[in-house]
Symmetry: C2
Subunit: 120 residues, 2 copies
Amino acid sequence: MISDAESRVMEVLWQTYPLTADEVVAILDGHVEWQEATIRTLLNRLLKKKAIAADRDGRRYVYRPLLERADYVHAESKTLLDRLFKGRIAPMVVQFSSRQKLSKKDIAELKRLIEDLGNE
Amino acid sequence: MISDAESRVMEVLWQTYPLTADEVVAILDGHVEWQEATIRTLLNRLLKKKAIAADRDGRRYVYRPLLERADYVHAESKTLLDRLFKGRIAPMVVQFSSRQKLSKKDIAELKRLIEDLGNE
DNA sequence: TTGCACCTATTACGAACGTAAAAGGTTTCT
DNA sequence: AGAAACCTTTTACGTTCGTAATAGGTGCAA
């Protein structure tokens, strides 16, 4: 429901909000190669999709997210897992680690998680 | 590069190949609600994208995958991880488990993986 | 050999996307 | 008041996607 380009804008608002359109543009500048007009279009599409809200602030609007990042992230993750790994996370991790060496940090984090899950 | 609908067709061919268009249609029947024509369109788009190949077999074609599932799966996973988790898998697992209880099977599998990775 | 059956290839069409320019409405400066 | 500046809202346009229908070619039965 939220497109790739739109999610770039969401990321900005998840980081800080409220922001004016100009501020969003400023933050994205250098990271993406979009014209200001493009970013305004994306803000409007997100508005129409109720992913963000706009509050009037004097003569301009300030935008803030309505959709929460955690919900979005979970939905996207679940879609991918369902589509490619029958909904299970372990096979994804296994597959991933067979292609790309996990960092020490990753291993440590996973280890800790497993331990926590184990003795609860 | 490969769309959602197209990947449904790829899954069929990854499972068994070569297959005629009719066979693909037969296998998908009941799983998706597409007309035969739709599936043929998808096969042609996949051909154009070089994701599959068609070999003439008498008066018809048999299709087989060119793109390997493991490559596709890895690419898709990586894209998602990069976009949402800065490329790291552990945060994804942590996030996921905070939203959705991991099955015993998942936990066991992860545990085994971690152990294998640990002492190598 | 001619029409039919059976395939494949071409064309269609609306919605969503990426990307952006143009038009409109308010302040504000002069 | 009129023009300029600054925002927002509309409109645009080429692609890709989902979903199909139709046209085109070829071997086989009559």
